[in-house]
Amino acid sequence: MKMNDNIAISQSGYVFNPQTGESFSLNPTAIEVIKLLQEGKSRDEIAVEMTSRYDISISSFLCDLDDFLHLLQQYDMMANE
């Protein structure tokens, strides 16, 4: 699971996809998830990490994480593996 290398992400969570010209803004938790993704972490590793940082159950977090990962895929931001 890897993001496209050419995706630009600013400190404040502004995301630009040069391939499609689309831009998005991320909320703070999404920024943390993206950073973990860029570090090469897997879905499960991200879930373990984030649930240790925040008071949320694994199942609730996975529900949101999967939604987010699908969106990244939908917007062509994930690398084909």
Partner: protein, 427 residues
């Protein structure tokens, strides 16, 4: 400044209570979904409407439009505030009578009165608003049989300058049909001609249209006096004032565009004063205002069932209240508020109801904070036409409650049960 930038920002504040009673408590006690009416709001709406008209015109009478919301608990508040009843079927007539309204305070409109309806109305001294000639002749038959002189008004349709003219009810003003009918009634001598009635449409945002209608009706009333020697008791301008809802495809939100009761009253009263009646002979002005008096007194509370993504990545949120309960979502973009504090992150969502039917969409585009399963929403301005036009379809209809002025809550209409439905099945 762009209008979009000054639009109402109420979308942004969570609604935690209704008249001081917490939404969570209401849903815990009475279930979800749940219709909630504010007694306080109903009183204040009718009081401000009455004030707007009666400070400008000497004789004003409101008549509660039963079809807008005929829950007894709601009707009784209007009657308590002095409103008569405006009914459009034998069923509504009976409901008004059972609510204790005297026949002489009931206006009977509509195109579908049966002979039995007319007999009953005649015996009780109800004002019968004649819609068509077949009805006129039937009523004259009933008058003979009952040896009574029924009190009648003629329903008139007219060109008030609106793009859509409602000409399917009553007799046309401009082409002379209305005049012919009035003359015929006077000539027949069997019916007691008391008034003229019109209803130019619904959700009319133009006060000018009311001015045009009021002036035409007043001129007609004066002509009836001058040429037919009958002094009409009243001019009834029907309903149609806009509520604070937002019509679909309207750029500005409802509260920004709907005229106030004062605006409508000013237009109507000044138009009638253009017609040279002697002050002592001014006809009574009847108003059958429906939605503008009740829409914002009604809320629909609902619970989020699930979230998902569309084929194109759009967020879909499914809630437990659908078009089966919210008929008006077909023509309004109802205002939706979250009922709990939320994070500052919003996303455009499409809001669906719970029915397994593609048409069951409450809002196609609405920007909401990210809601989770179990979160609550408040849907605003649902007081008119929903608890009369709701359907028993796929699921059961929920409780309808009233938050009273003293903070107590009482059930106006109990949630349906399976046995309510099965009781009517015979095989």
């Amino acid at each position: 400044m762009l209008p979009g930038k000054v639009g109402t920002d109420a979308y942004l504040s969570p609604v935690l209570d209704i008249d001081g009673v917490s939404v969570d408590r209401l849903m815990r006690d009475f279930g979800s979904p749940l219709f909630v009416f504010s007694e306080q709001k109903i009183h204040s709406n009718i009081q401000s409407a009455k004030r707007a008209f009666s400070t400008r015109y000497p004789k004003v009478q409101f008549a509660w439009s039963y079809k807008t919301n005929y829950l007894d608990g709601v009707c009784k508040i209007f009657h308590e505030e002095g409103s008569w009843a405006e009914v459009v079927s034998g069923f509504e007539l009976e409901k008004a009578l059972q609510n204790g309204v005297d026949g002489s305070h009931i206006l009977f409109n509509g195109p579908s009165k049966t002979k039995e309806d007319l007999q009953k109305a005649v015996r009780l001294g109800v004002y019968i608003h004649i819609d068509n000639l077949d009805e006129l002749y039937l009523l004259s038959e009933v008058a003979d049989e009952e040896s009574e002189r029924p009190k009648v008004a003629v329903r008139v349709n007219l060109d008030a300058g609106l793009s859509q003219q409602w000409d399917r009810f009553g007799f046309n003003y401009e082409n002379g049909q209305a005049w012919d009918t009035l003359s015929k009634i006077v000539e027949m001598g069997k019916l007691d001609l008391k008034g003229i009635h019109c209803h130019i449409g619904t959700f009319i945002l133009s006060t000018k249209a009311y001015a045009v209608a009021a002036e035409k009706m007043a001129r007609l009333a004066l002509e009836v006096f001058q040429k037919l020697r009958v002094r009409l008791e009243y001019i009834d301008l029907g309903g149609g004032f806009a509520s604070h809802n937002t019509l679909k495809a309207s750029y500005l939100g409802g509260p920004d565009v709907a005229p106030s009761f004062d605006d409508y009253a000013e237009a109507v009263a000044s138009a009638i004063y253009k017609v040279p009646f002697k002050t002592s002979e001014l006809p009574m002005l009847i108003l059958e205002t429906g939605r503008a008096l009740i829409d914002d007194a009604g809320y629909l509370l609902s619970t989020v069932l699930s979230n998902k993504r569309s084929a194109t990545g759009r967020r879909y949120t499914v809630i437990d209240a659908g078009v089966n309960l919210l008929f008006t979502s077909f023509w309004y973009d109802h205002k939706i508020s979250p009922a709990q504090p939320y994070s500052k992150y919003f996303e455009d969502v499409t809001l669906f109801g719970p029915l397994c039917m593609n048409i069951d969409m409450i809002r196609e585009f609405v920007c909401l904070p990210l809601l989770n399963r179990g979160d609550h929403l408040v849907i605003h301005n649902v007081g008119a036409y929903n608890v009369t036009q709701w359907m028993q379809f796929i699921t059961l209809r929920p409780n309808v409650i009233m938050v009273k002025r003293d903070g107590d809550c009482s059930i106006l209409h109990e949630a349906e049960t399976l046995s309510d439905i099965k009781r009517k099945e015979c095989l």
